[in-house]
Amino acid sequence: MIPASWYLILSAVLFSLGVIGFLIKRSLITVFMSIELMLNAVNLSFVTFAHQWHSVKGQIFVFFVMMVAAAEAAVGLAIIIAIFRARATLNVDQVDLMKL
């Protein structure tokens, strides 16, 4: 038996790594991957909690998150393709026609 908190900490670590990836990665597509990593980390939390509460709801949530992630991926990649067509680059720092 291992404590459920290990799973949760793993999830937190993965989530943080995802956030770090979001900040340091310089290619739009890897930035997007970092977001997927974050979602996966959250899913792990959900499953752990579902296990802990003996409730199926957590698992159902994960299932829906997957669906949403799939939909998001379709749209996100479509946008990435569009931007590549318009700008011929995926570098975050070069996609800056509008400066903050």
Partner: protein, 166 residues
């Protein structure tokens, strides 16, 4: 047994995630992410979520990430250029992440005893229970997903399609 499996696959997860950050070529990052996702699937199995484990493989590793690699290949995205990123993001971002992470970890460790443990013998969530909740209690979100996917398809077509021919 459980401990060994957990350590192995958690290790894979972490290694994959870190590798995702370190790799400069998108395709390598994508493959690292696939490793993370597949290892997560195993962890789900350990937690008794059999259906989710396989759904994770089918949906994430098998569909979403294929899409990613597909796009990387289609656009022939090269190595990431090492440009200086936004300084502000780093200066504010990293301490924030570290702080948030430590807070989360403290919280989790603080409630460790409440949470209990995970055993291999805990059993697997039966599919029937899963489907009861999914198709009865969660009927509305389930139906709603169809709208979501419809929107996504519409959008993907509208954005990715080259103009000039309808």
């Amino acid at each position: 047994m459980h401990l060994i499996l957990f350590i192995i696959f958690a290790g894979f997860c972490l290694a994959g995630a870190i590798n995702l950050l370190l790799q400069t070529h998108p395709i390598n990052s994508a493959l690292s992410l696939i490793v993370v996702m597949s290892s997560l699937a195993v962890l789900y199995l350990l937690l008794g979520a059999e259906f989710l484990a396989i759904a994770q493989i089918i949906v994430y590793a098998g569909a979403v990430m294929v899409l990613f690699t597909f796009v990387v290949m289609l656009l022939n995205v090269g190595e990431e250029e090492k440009t200086h990123g936004s300084k502000a993001a780093k200066i504010i971002g990293f301490p924030a992440i570290v702080a948030a992470f430590s807070v989360l970890t403290t919280v989790i460790l603080a409630i460790q005893n409440k949470l209990g443990g995970v055993k291999l013998s805990d059993g697997v969530t039966p599919m029937t229970e899963l489907s009861t909740v999914l198709f009865r209690d969660m009927l509305l979100p389930f139906e709603l997903t169809s709208v979501l996917i419809l929107v996504a398809i519409l959008g993907a077509v509208a954005l990715a399609r080259k103009e000039g021919h309808r």
